[in-house]
């Protein structure tokens, strides 16, 4: 344990505020440059397809690792040990699905959205409409979860800023990035965030290990007896390396694992990142870069998550901001006020990068799938119309998310919204992506039923889950265990029950495109 004077709460300072402002200023400069550079739809939606492999890998990592990953998982490990670490494993393994199944075919056969691949050989309008509804659902629900989280956090991180101001601030910033800077600005915000997050985690990990003279054996031994006070005032000592301290129902873990493994490859804001690179080979390289970064990050949660448990103890964390503040509080104790401010700024950057990614995926899907292709049959009536609609959508989506986050307020339980996003992505989007890439017989009716059944079953099962009902009709917190099979079943039955004949020539074309990259969208010249 560390000497007690160090544990005394430091006086609030404005260092973190200045660090936030520095980050915001840097991102606004990037947005300004992006806005000057980018013109045309491919520049706006796909950053001109000129992002390199390692850049896109960082951006995917930045798009993916939310505040729930950084603060939430660190807090879970700090309060209850091993289960939090186990929770993080699925987030990385999920990228194998992305690498093996979706990234390259998507890049080869699509243009701006996930629906491009689905619309290839199916009737474009119904499929795009359904895919757009599912994309907007995933993005907006996930965004609201992030905004509420952001409001709560910023309130804790910067003294004197209220929940409402924090929500409005985050909302306005994400809209500014997306409306003015498009995909290029969003990408760079995500890259900077990923670099900051990795740097912050490494520093934190080194500072923790320094306390144990860089002796891993000593570090792990310190975790075997962590004392904490229970709700009824008793002191218990637990081995934090023991599984099962939070998760008691193994089926919950299996269901969550399914949602992560299959849902990541169906998250629209991750999928559209693969359109920003010049070709499928670079898309592949970017998944590998993302896996290295995301994996390294989650392994480091061992050090700063367990480190917070052992150096601060759950009781100290509970007293100083609670579970979500475990990592910043550890930074304060180990590195002082400046390091605390830095980790807070990293958390803030994390939130902004994710919400910007969600905003651009929602607005791209609305403009490209719904406005241009469903309403206007795939034709732009005026040049630049698609981009203009996307900008307006980003503005509307941002405003909506701000209003909903403020109405819901800081006390609402948003964890289920994140679970819902992954469940919908896994149950609605992934079955349809897999069938349209690999099953020749698959048809429009199958795609529309698959998307609808996957979406509705996820939402309904969450509404009757333990998160919402005292006497739940469905016993699991995450619906994936039931809703993923239902999504596949819906897509399969919908196909078999319809008389529509599959377009074999188009399937052949898509197969050749997906596997060879022939005729794929190219990077812009400059």
């Amino acid at each position: 344990m560390i000497p007690s004077p160090l544990l005394a709460a430091a006086s609030p300072s404005h260092t973190s505020l200045w660090m936030f402002l520095a980050f915001v200023a840097a991102t606004l400069v990037i947005t300004w440059f992006s806005a000057r550079k980018s013109s045309g739809a491919s520049a706006y939606f796909a950053a001109g397809r000129r992002i390199t492999g390692w850049q896109n890998g960082l951006a995917v990592a930045g798009d993916y690792m939310s505040a729930a990953s950084f603060l939430g998982i660190a807090g879970m490990i700090a309060m209850n040990g091993y289960d939090g670490f186990m929770y993080s494993v699925g987030f990385l393994v999920a990228y194998l699905t992305v690498l093996f199944i979706v990234a390259e075919p998507l890049r080869n056969a699509g243009k701006y959205t996930m629906a491009d691949v689905l619309a290839y050989r199916l009737k474009p309008r119904p499929v795009r409409a359904a895919a757009s509804v599912s994309t907007l659902t995933v993005s907006i629900f996930y965004m609201i979860a992030q905004m509420v989280g952001a409001g709560v956090l910023v309130q804790q991180l910067i003294p004197g800023v209220s929940y409402e101001i924090a929500v409005v601030g985050v909302g306005v910033l994400m809209v500014v990035y997306v409306v003015f800077g498009g995909m290029l600005a969003t990408t760079w915000v995500q890259i900077i965030k990923a670099v900051l997050l990795i740097a912050g985690s490494m520093l934190l990990s080194v500072l923790v290990l320094q306390r144990y003279d860089f002796d891993l054996g000593k570090f792990f031994t310190s975790l075997t007896a962590i004392s904490s006070t229970t709700a009824d005032g008793q002191t218990v000592t637990r081995n934090f390396l023991t599984p099962g301290l939070i998760f008691t129902n193994p089926w919950d873990q299996i269901s969550l694992g399914m949602a992560l493994l299959l849902g990541t490859a169906g998250l629209p804001h991750i999928l559209i990142r693969f359109y920003t690179v010049p070709d499928a080979k670079t898309a592949r390289a970017s998944v590998v870069w993302a896996m290295l970064i995301i994996g390294a990050f989650y392994i480091m949660t061992t050090f700063f998550g367990f480190g917070a448990a052992s150096l601060l103890g759950p009781d100290h964390i509970a007293k100083h901001g609670g579970t979500n503040m475990a990592a910043p509080e550890l930074a304060r104790v180990l590195g002082g006020e400046i390091f605390f401010a830095f980790i807070c700024a990293v958390a803030f950057a994390t939130i902004l990068a994710v919400v910007a990614g969600l905003t651009i995926s929602a607005s791209t899907s609305f403009a490209h799938d719904f406005f241009t292709n469903v309403i206007h049959h795939g034709r732009e009536h005026r040049p630049g119309e698609e981009v203009r609609v996307a900008r307006i959508t980003a503005f509307v989506v941002g405003a909506l998310a701000i209003v909903i986050a403020i109405i819901l307020g800081p006390t609402v339980n948003v964890a289920f919204l994140v679970g819902l996003a992954f469940a919908v992505a896994a149950s609605a989007n992934l079955p349809v992506i897999v069938f349209s890439l690999f099953w020749k017989r698959f048809n429009t009716a199958g795609a529309v039923t698959g998307l609808t059944v996957g979406l509705l079953s996820s939402i309904v099962l969450i509404l009757v889950s333990p998160d919402f009902m005292k006497d739940p009709l469905f016993p699991l917190k995450n619906p994936a265990l039931a809703s993923i099979p239902l999504g596949f079943l819906g897509a399969w039955l919908g196909t078999l029950l319809s008389k529509e004949q599959p377009d074999e020539a188009k399937f052949t074309e898509m197969q050749v495109r997906a596997n060879t990259g022939l005729g794929s969208e190219k990077a812009s010249a400059h």
Partner: protein
């Protein structure tokens, strides 16, 4: 800048290499109607890049079917493997806690080491995939070149 070249054959010049440049002031000084010729690369869209008849031709090429089969031969077993490997973790922790809590290295138990091994499993599988994919890239290149859609720097 690498660009795929693979034009519509029917859009090439109908009369060989005849020069359509009109002689200034002559009676033929009008732009020929229906001027063919490949569009310059910057004007072509992805759709126009490829002769539509080529899809069926490539799909029937044994080299293409071998390429797709080769990919599946790695992707299918690797996917089954990582899904099983991943789910052993929650199943082991959930139903076989005594085994998972066994200490193997100092105070570190099987549960932690197995969770940690998942990261390396994912990285190793990704490495195997990337190595195999480099071979597929070469085959894909040769296949496209064979059909006149090679890449030009």
């Amino acid at each position: 800048m690498i660009a795929r070249v693979c034009f519509y054959p029917r859009m090439s010049f109908p009369q060989g290499d005849r020069d359509y440049t009109p002689i200034v002031g002559s009676q033929t000084d009008v732009a020929p109607l229906g001027r063919g010729g490949p569009k310059p690369p910057h004007e072509r869209t992805a759709e126009e890049e490829v002769d539509p008849r080529l899809w069926a031709v490539i799909a029937k090429d044994p080299d293409f079917t071998a390429l797709v089969r080769g990919k599946m031969k790695l992707i299918v077993p690797a996917t089954i493997f990582f899904i099983i490997y991943y789910f052993i973790l929650p199943i082991g922790v959930g139903w076989f806690p005594q085994f998972m809590e066994r200490k193997v290295w100092g105070d570190v138990n099987i549960a932690y080491l197995f969770a940690l091994s998942q990261f390396f499993m994912a990285w190793i599988l990704a490495g195997i995939y990337v190595a195999a994919a480099a071979g597929w890239d070469k085959k894909e290149h040769a296949l496209l070149a064979k059909h006149g859609c090679g890449t030009k720097v």
